[in-house]
Symmetry: C2
Subunit: 229 residues, 2 copies
């Protein structure tokens, strides 16, 4: 708490003059006016990262889906609901020195979302939902020809084979770093206060000890400051 207060009060630091975009939280993809597809992200880790970056002096644009934790102080908050809205908000916030894509963006949305509430039709047959892939924001930003942030950091929430999946994801997306974690139920990380992450860079995989999400955030913010210096 004291550290957070000091961070909040800091007006200059190693990231002063830098602009960082941070995405956070889940996205909600509508099925009809009352139903949607969601994912289990509280936004806690992204919020802590945004706060830590601001604490090192960065100007932070915080693009957040409907998270359960409130956004941090001292950042520019852009609230969105869907993956498409998140993509548009990030593009509008460029240029930036770094982008940290911590949001749990829905991979798919419903193609045939209904304007009226869907009803059981008495046949017992469920509605046919058609899905389409959402824009791949991390890949798109990583491959921008103009305005690509110098440092693009993605996240990988995995339930198995964390390092292998995350390393492959880094290559596939074209981002610089991937912060990977194991969100399988047994870890208690999703919705919890702690995180156990592996940072995947061009140099390999570096596993950090299990620590609070605030500590993960501060360590990542310091690494970003080094990366941009």
């Amino acid at each position: 708490q004291i550290v957070a207060a000091v961070e909040g009060a800091l007006s200059s630091g190693p990231l002063t003059g830098r602009h960082v975009i941070v995405t956070s939280g889940p996205t909600h993809e509508p099925i009809d006016p009352v139903r949607y597809i969601a994912n289990r992200s509280s936004g806690a880790q992204g919020t802590a990262i945004a706060a830590a970056l601001a604490g090192l002096g960065a100007r932070v644009t915080f693009v957040s889906g409907p998270a359960t934790v409130p956004p941090p102080n001292g950042v520019d908050v852009v609230q969105v609901e869907t993956a498409q809205q998140m993509r548009d908000a990030v593009m509008a916030a460029l240029p930036a020195d770094a982008g940290v894509f911590a949001a749990a963006v829905a991979d798919w949305r419903v193609a045939n979302a209904a304007g009226r509430k869907m009803k059981k039709d008495g046949t017992g047959n469920p509605p046919a939902l058609e899905f389409v892939e959402n824009p791949d924001l991390l890949a798109e930003v990583s491959r921008l020809e103009t305005d690509r942030p110098r440092l693009v950091v993605g996240f990988a929430a995995e339930t198995n084979d964390v390092v292998a999946h995350a390393t492959a994801k880094r290559d596939r997306k074209g981002c610089d770093w991937i912060l990977a974690n194991d969100v399988s139920e047994a870890t208690g990380i999703m919705g919890g206060n702690e995180n156990e992450v592996t940072l995947i860079t061009a140099g390999g995989a570096e596993t950090w000890p299990r620590m609070g999400k605030g500590d993960v955030a501060r360590r990542l913010a310091e690494r970003i400051a080094e990366g941009l210096s």
Copy 2:
């Protein structure tokens, strides 16, 4: 606030000795370990009804999905996540003098929910989700041969033709009353503090003026007390 505090302090009233089951909130239906289908229910109306019933002296079993508002004081809280869990919790809580089914239960669940996080497979083809109908809790309780509560109250969240849809729902489910409301976006009711409801009984439809959700709850609780007296 004062009324709520007085209600909470009341240990006897017209519902003293009665047991009422109230369901509330959304349900979450898993797709895989990190994704689920949800619906836009804050649980505010069900929570207010449970508080109002307790305020009239009822013993309340409050079966709640993952709501955004906290459960009321003075009730027995059973937290559930899915429609199937809600059904089992209600059945376990019987017998009861009345059941108020205010939860926004998912009509469908994913039949082929995955034990591992689903991945894009690189083809651009989305995963095939198969849906099956969830148990129809309101209809099941309304048609119980033993332990049917004397008064079964359902809810209808409609976006169009509210009275016609709700009247048909009352007949179809076999419940005694339906409290119907219009949740179309323009009304601001879903997630808001006010409600505008129509009570459908065997005698017809009775539209109440727009009022706070707490007032709707108290009026319904009084009607339930009359109905059981």
